[in-house]
Symmetry: C2
Amino acid sequence: MNRQIELLAIDADDTLWTNMLFYHEAMDSIKNILEKYTDTALIIKDLYEIETANISVLGYGTKSFIITMVEAAISLTEGKIKAHDILEIVTIGKTLFSRPVELLDNVKETLAELSQNYTLMLLTKGDLFEQQGKINCSGLIGYFEYTEIVSEKDEATYSALLQRYNIAPENFLMAGNSLKSDIFPVLNIGGNAVHIPHRSVWYHEDVPADEAGRDYIVISDISELTGLICQNYPQKKVEI
Amino acid sequence: MNRQIELLAIDADDTLWTNMLFYHEAMDSIKNILEKYTDTALIIKDLYEIETANISVLGYGTKSFIITMVEAAISLTEGKIKAHDILEIVTIGKTLFSRPVELLDNVKETLAELSQNYTLMLLTKGDLFEQQGKINCSGLIGYFEYTEIVSEKDEATYSALLQRYNIAPENFLMAGNSLKSDIFPVLNIGGNAVHIPHRSVWYHEDVPADEAGRDYIVISDISELTGLICQNYPQKKVEI
């Protein structure tokens, strides 16, 4: 590998800052409410089905999560849940918007280093309003020359983005925690990808590691990114 | 006025296609449900308060609308509403995502003409996933060189956008139905604006027409845009 990286894009949720953990905490609080009505050990499968159906209609993000939880609570309790408990579920969901942005270890230092030598893009999937709020509160915006919030990270999205920025796929590198969103579609269009797994994987993003032996690098901490890219790709900040 | 327009941005909801009408229809259906529990003649003020509070937390769009309606229904019925009626409210809200995109009169012809002579941008505020869905279904995407979905249309947003596209405010024209979002902030940063009022104005966008005599043009139909711009601004399509 000796490709020049003209654009280095980095995912945000669970790559730069904590995300899934907050959802898990909200889910636990919601389960406590539902336990008054039903056996919550059974709910995961139903929840997955309602959530999957809703993603195609509503998209990603906390607002979709809240609507899914309301529907699931009514369905799983067979309509027995009281209105004040539904309101409590909405309130729990809305607290996700007021959680502080918690940067993961070594993020700030790594971005400070990388931004010296590469053109960085923050490239995140999800709800526009919500992601912009997190980006604004992260204190990281100064390290990124570009910020792109997209509704889905698939081959079509990456291709359109690279075309818009006039970057050949071989000169693009994506780093992130999701094989499904950050790694495989980028490899599929001929780009470069570095996987930084996070301990929490949302089940919608949980795909099997590719067996086809495709060419991507896995690191355990974002701080490894600097040395790794330096070794594998010539450092050059180019005007795009 | 004899400014050259390098970028002509056009709003989408209720400028290019029907939007508020569908919300009003959904609201009527939801009121029918609430009438079983309470006097809905009283609800508009409470609804406005809940919705206003939610916009700052959740942003704009149908998902925010659904969450607002659930909270409002529980609050207005003092918790008496049954779970199955709450589920019905969510379902009514979700049907807004499956409404076909209904273009307003003369939109397609006007865009076809304007795109010959101006660089067009579709510039819309709201939920990313939802707005992208509408844009994709509108059949209009070919007329626009750029599409921007923003979470708020204020001075800061317009300034950042123009800086990113390297356009001076005096060479920018915005056309849309909302004085609050499409006209006043553009004038405030030194840009040009054309107001195309729509019969439905969302109460959050309903601001008094400016008394200060600021310099913007009002037209009653989008088809007037071609002649108006042609008369007031030199026609030139420039590379940006």
